[in-house]
């Protein structure tokens, strides 16, 4: 998979139930490298799941690396790349993510956020050990390191 130079997101998922990416590059898009959301007009069967488990680079995206909205679930195993947008990974409203020690995607402001930037999360500090968790009790978002 190669998605580059789009005038919006590299990949946008909100009408499928599962997306699996083993290898690829999502770069230099004006939106996010990966945008994942539920189908706002459908029912909850349209929740989106993404599994990025191979060697994947998400870089130089102006919106940020990955945004997961509205109860989306995402797993990042070996995803790297520096983005010009604020965050490598941003979760919104009830979204969950698992990462591993190999997850290195970054943004211009922080590696990740689950509260719209009120707290800047870094892989090295907040997820230094297997099992480390960050969770937002207000919006239900959660990131867990699971090697």
């Amino acid at each position: 998979m190669y998605a580059s130079g789009n005038s919006d997101n590299g990949i946008r998922i909100n009408n499928v139930r599962f997306f699996d990416l083993d290898t690829g590059t999502l770069e230099s898009n004006t939106g996010y490298g990966l945008y994942i959301d539920e189908n706002a007009t459908g029912n909850r069967l349209a929740l989106s799941f993404a599994n990025l488990a191979g060697t994947i680079t998400i870089q130089d995206n102006a919106g940020g690396g990955i945004v997961a909205k509205n109860h989306s679930i995402i797993a990042l195993t070996n995803v790297d790349g520096s983005n010009t947008g604020d965050y490598g990974l941003e979760l919104q409203t009830g979204s969950n993510a698992t990462i591993t020690s190999d997850t290195g995607i970054t943004g211009n402001t922080a590696d990740a956020t689950i509260n719209a930037g009120a707290t800047l999360l870094t892989w090295a500090t907040h997820f230094a050990s297997d099992g480390d968790i960050a969770r937002n009790e207000d919006n239900g978002c959660r990131i867990e390191r699971k090697d």
Binding site: I114, N115, A128, S129, R135, N136, N139
Partner: protein
């Protein structure tokens, strides 16, 4: 495993511990990396900060919960409920004992079976032991916190 509890506004300064303690987050101004179980009091030089208690301290406010937090960084301390306190070396803890600040800075004394009931020792109280431990070096023992 560490859990970072957040809200939409940021990281709160109050949470519970799995051991049964109520924690608040203040800045470590002890001059060194934090040591779990040491007794602390409010800093007089910096807002929202703590320093180590002195010998036979009467102004203890809590017990350090996190080890290794650098001086100048925010650190969780236990201020109510169950806390693990660092005993004065070579002294034991006996469950049911009255616990106070010791004559060693930042350390607890859990050797007294009954409270003295007199000043100033009465104001040195930090709680009641709920765990028996033999004396040694850097021994932690559980107490239920109670201040006068």
């Amino acid at each position: 495993m560490a859990v970072t509890e957040l809200t939409n506004e940021g990281e709160p300064k109050l949470k519970r511990s799995v051991e049964g303690g109520l924690l608040i987050r203040l800045t470590n101004k002890t001059g060194s990396a934090s040591v779990k179980g040491t007794l602390v009091k409010a800093d007089t030089a910096t807002d929202n900060a703590f320093i180590l208690t002195g010998a036979n301290e009467v102004e203890c406010i809590g017990v350090v919960y996190e080890a290794g937090v650098a001086d100048g960084s925010e650190c969780w301390i236990v201020v109510a409920g169950i806390a693990e306190v660092l005993l004065k070396d070579t002294t034991a803890s006996t469950r049911g004992n009255w616990v106070e600040t010791s004559d060693t800075a930042g350390r607890a004394d859990a050797t007294n079976a009954a409270p003295p009931g007199i000043d100033p020792s009465h104001f040195q109280e930090i709680g009641h032991a709920i765990e028996s431990k033999s004396g040694g070096t850097d021994v932690l023992a559980k107490i239920v916190m109670h201040f006068n």
